[in-house]
């Protein structure tokens, strides 16, 4: 399968750039250390009387942030560079199909996300006493992978409309950071005006964060699958792919 082959080479190239790989995985761990240090971390009693460390509640937020960075931001930026360097134009001259190239990237994003979350949760458990849910674990994994798919697709989509590499960081940040702030990821938005939350609910970050939070919370009853939230995230992902096909640029845009 062509996409699988693309994924394999993408993956090989990824690990050959140790600085990029190392900080992709270090990023959430830094926050795992920073957040409790800044905001404090009180232990609270769990649903069956056990002690749950405050770090447990930081993990989903940090996970959401790290996943979006590793998929949305990262794909938008690396595609811009690949376009500017002519790697994409070279690919365009081969029989490789657009869909196989995109699918390979999405598979790579989902794989990296899986590792990223596994490492964060494991380090969290070993060093910060983070409680890993057992009953809702499948829901947590499905949620994380759905988010990886959707934000990777959206990253590919936005790269196609960006005019050049220099425009990459400001536009990508401007498109994602405000959403992270209004979507109850780092800052509780309970006191925010209602219209702001209404706006946030249009976009996928809010729903991804909510589904992740619920599937990782020790207080969740049932299997933890947030089907409504997951569906909205997935629809954004599919829309991302459709837009990506429309806007994908294989050559640097010059005027």
């Amino acid at each position: 399968m062509k996409a699988l082959r693309e994924f394999r080479f993408e993956n090989r190239a990824f690990w050959r750039n140790p600085a990029a790989a190392f900080f992709t995985f270090m990023f959430p761990l830094m926050f795992l250390f920073l957040f409790p240090t800044i905001f404090g971390s009180g232990d609270i009693p769990g649903p069956s009387g056990e002690t749950i460390t405050g770090e447990t509640f930081y993990v989903p937020a940090i996970g959401v942030f790290a996943i979006i960075t590793a998929t949305y931001t990262n794909n938008a930026m690396t595609l811009l560079f690949a376009r500017e360097e002519g790697v994409l134009k070279r690919k365009r001259g081969t029989p490789l199909r657009t869909r196989d190239y995109m699918l390979g990237r999405i598979m790579h994003s989902m794989f990296i996300t899986f590792l990223l979350v596994a490492i964060t949760v494991t380090v969290g458990k070993l060093f910060f006493g983070v409680a890993i849910p057992s009953e809702t674990l499948p829901a947590f994994i499905v949620t994380v992978l759905t988010g990886a798919f959707a934000f990777c697709a959206l990253g590919i989509a936005i790269s196609g409309v960006l005019p050049n590499v220099e425009a990459g960081p400001p536009v990508v940040n401007a498109s994602i950071l405000p959403l992270l702030f209004i979507s109850n990821v780092f800052i509780p938005t309970a006191d925010a005006p209602e219209w702001l939350t209404t706006v946030a609910k249009v976009f996928p970050v809010y729903h991804f964060a909510e589904a992740t939070l619920i599937s990782f919370s020790p207080f969740t009853e049932g299997n933890g699958f947030e089907w409504n939230n997951l569906a909205i995230v997935a629809v954004w992902g599919v829309a991302g792919i459709l837009i990506a096909f429309k806007t994908f640029a294989w050559e640097p845009k010059r005027k």
């Binding site: 062509k2 080479f9 090989r12 360097e85 134009k89």
Partner: protein, 303 residues
Amino acid sequence: MAAKAIEVSGLHKSYGSHEAVRGVDLVVDEGDVFALLGPNGAGKTTTVEILEGHRHRSSGTVSVLDHDPGKGEPTYKQRIGIVLQETGVERYLTVAEAVDLYRGYYPNPLGVDEVIEIVGLTDKRDERIVKLSGGQQRRLDVAVGLAGDPDLLFLDEPTTGFDPSARRGAWEMIRNLKSLGKTVLLTTHYMDEAQALADRVAIIAAGKIIAEGPPDGLLQTADTITTIRFVKPSAELPPAISYRTTETGFCEISTSEPVAILNELTGWAIQNSVDLAGLSVARPTLEDVYLQLVRASEKGKDQ
């Protein structure tokens, strides 16, 4: 008669109101090395990119290997190899891995080591691409273009920026490709390169082909001038010979009738026991022909 690899007629391409290509006709035989020459902005790259399938034409008919490149069919791309300038490759892979990645896109590719040997990178097989020199990266470009065992290879200025020995190496490589039976469409700014490699050349200026034929044929048909040079003797030259004196003390005679002039000159020299030191007769090069044709075309455009 050889089969045709490329047939183009009446090709036009406009970008907005600017007409980059205005009526190009072109035929390339299978198995030929064909060089497309022309100044920057003459429509050379646009023409080649239309043939490669990177650009859509405004009008005209184009057939490459019996395909219409404008349709972007994978079955067409399976049969061509494209080596452009300024196209990167996954930098963190090794030479062998990059060749392997790209050969995987084709149904009947060449072997990894076979390709690497053709371009002369066997020593660098397992080197990361980031660590290659400029010349080696260019060879890798060709290797990647060749990996799918294409019938037709597009080479866009393959030796720009090479030192002289690297250029000779690249020429050897292109001759190898020809001996493998590949058709090669080459663009270059080096006339000696075209003269050394091409079976036929076409010169494109202001969006049109202004001359086409085998390099030697172009030299003969063009209205070109032979230059005779020798150290200025102390004796006065016969009045029938008009010459100019260079700053370095040479006489230079430009003529379209070198035989008659040489006859008169050498006859006079023997009679008067004059030693024509440093005597040389230079036939026009492809570069002279090229410059003459391009200038003439520019003049024609101004009028």
